[in-house]
């Protein structure tokens, strides 16, 4: 292993690589154009590191979004050689360094400047599916007196979809988004399933207006590209198909969902010796 790393280092560190970056300044450019930069690779360099190096040493006007630099914030998704990727998680050595590496802003989003996509419609779509637990006992949500029951098995049903970091890579990969600009998109639809599958939620009906409209869930024809592009393993296309099933069940009157009840502390039980006390309650005191 160590020998492999030494070999890689020898092959790449110090190698000069060309980056072709899409540039667009809305105040002076009529259309985007490519600009090339050459930099020397350093050890463990990601595409985002390369962009930062270019900005620091060659062109301070280069614009891109980034924050955490470790695949958590979802800010730095871009098209790298035509494929949507989190640039902070893409090692330059994964790519063919003998050819210029092309970096563009995420496809299917308008360009604000250089590599910065306009995420406003994307975030509006997410908001439209009501991304929060909806229950008939709204009073309990506003002024909680306890926790809702949820078994580990129930948690598994939606947990995968809760890992979404809203990077937008799935929309850049989606062929329906490429032509239907109003399509809700894989992220919002998978997020809708995340809540519908949550045992505490009763909001399917309230979400239908956004989810099952003319540009909604049935415009998805299962190309699966969103799932391949997702850097967090969310598998939005899986969530979307499962949500279609929930909608079908609802439409034929077969959706019977009882939301998880409040967990009640059993009374009259005696703690066995040696079992530590639970932590202090944080709600409902």
């Amino acid at each position: 292993m160590a020998a492999d790393i030494k070999q890689l280092e020898k092959k790449y560190v110090g190698k000069e690589v060309e980056f072709r970056l899409l540039r667009f300044a809305p105040d002076k450019d009529r259309a985007p154009y490519f600009q090339s930069f050459r930099i020397k690779l350093s050890q463990g360099m990601t595409v985002l590191d390369a962009l930062m190096r270019i900005k620091e040493t060659q062109d301070p006007t280069l614009s891109y979004r980034k924050s955490c630099r470790m695949g958590i914030c979802g800010s730095c998704a871009m098209q790298v050689n035509g494929f949507p990727k989190l640039t902070c998680q893409t090692q330059v050595t994964e790519l063919n360094t003998d050819k210029p590496i092309e970096v563009r802003p995420l496809a299917n989003f308008p360009i604000l400047r250089d590599l910065v996509p306009d995420l406003r419609n994307f975030l509006k779509a997410h908001e439209s599916i009501k991304p929060y637990v909806i229950r008939e006992d709204a009073e309990e949500l506003d002024h909680p007196t306890g926790e809702f029951y949820q078994s580990p098995k129930e948690l598994e049903k939606y947990l995968q979809f809760a890992y979404c970091i809203k990077c937008g890579a799935c929309l850049a990969a989606c062929p329906t988004n490429a032509t239907d600009h109003e399509f809700l998109g894989p992220q919002a639809l998978a997020a809708a399933y995340r809540y519908v599958a949550d045992s505490r939620d009763q909001g399917l009906e309230q979400r239908l207006e956004a989810v099952d409209g003319p540009n909604g869930i049935f415009r998805c024809h299962y190309a699966g590209a969103c799932s391949e592009a997702c850097p967090k393993g969310v598998d939005p296309s899986l969530g979307i198909q499962l949500l279609k099933r929930e909608i079908l069940k609802y439409r034929v009157g077969a959706a019977h969902k009882k939301p998880a009840p409040l967990a009640v502390t059993p009374k009259g039980l005696k703690r066995r010796e040696g079992i530590p006390l639970p932590p202090e309650k944080t709600v409902g005191q």
Binding site: P26, I111, L112, Q160, A173, T179, Y222, D235, L238, Q241
Partner: protein
């Protein structure tokens, strides 16, 4: 306090029809997505032409003349292509219908790196579509291109 928001000038960046048609480095389902829609359109375009031709009120001689016209040149091969498209569309359509309603889908699982997408777990359905299409098309090719011309 009231803030006003400036409407930023942006540049459209949709991949458009090219992005819709080109599957790039994505998996086989991405290509089937395009193929399903192209074959659907092909069958849809063929249907009115077929209806127009076959709904003519003709006597036997007229009918045979029309049939002679459509049996010329590349037209039988074109018809065969519509048949291939139709067969693929039907089998793939069944796979998609089952998928859309979650029947062929794997269950959600914790995303542990390296991630496997659910589509991979139902690849067998894609292969089954190919096998079924090949069997029916093979039989059709025999009927269309060999038996019908002897």
């Amino acid at each position: 306090m009231k803030f006003f928001q400036l409407e930023p000038k942006t540049h459209a960046n949709y991949l458009g029809v090219k992005g819709w048609a080109y599957g790039g480095r994505y998996g086989i389902e991405r290509y089937l997505y395009t193929l399903q829609r192209v074959t659907g359109l092909g069958v849809l375009l063929y249907l009115p032409m077929h209806l127009i031709v076959t709904s003519q009120k003709l006597n036997q001689a007229g009918w045979e003349q029309v049939m002679g016209l459509v049996a010329r040149g590349l037209l039988p091969f074109g018809e065969f292509l519509v048949f291939v498209g139709g067969v693929f569309h039907a089998f793939n359509g069944i796979r998609l219908l089952l998928t859309h309603f979650g029947f062929l889908m794997a269950q959600p699982a914790r995303p542990i790196y390296p991630f496997t997408v659910a589509a991979l777990k139902q690849r067998w359905a894609v292969y089954l579509v190919f096998v079924m299409t090949t069997v029916v098309v093979g039989y059709g090719a025999w009927e269309f291109l060999i038996v019908a011309h002897h």
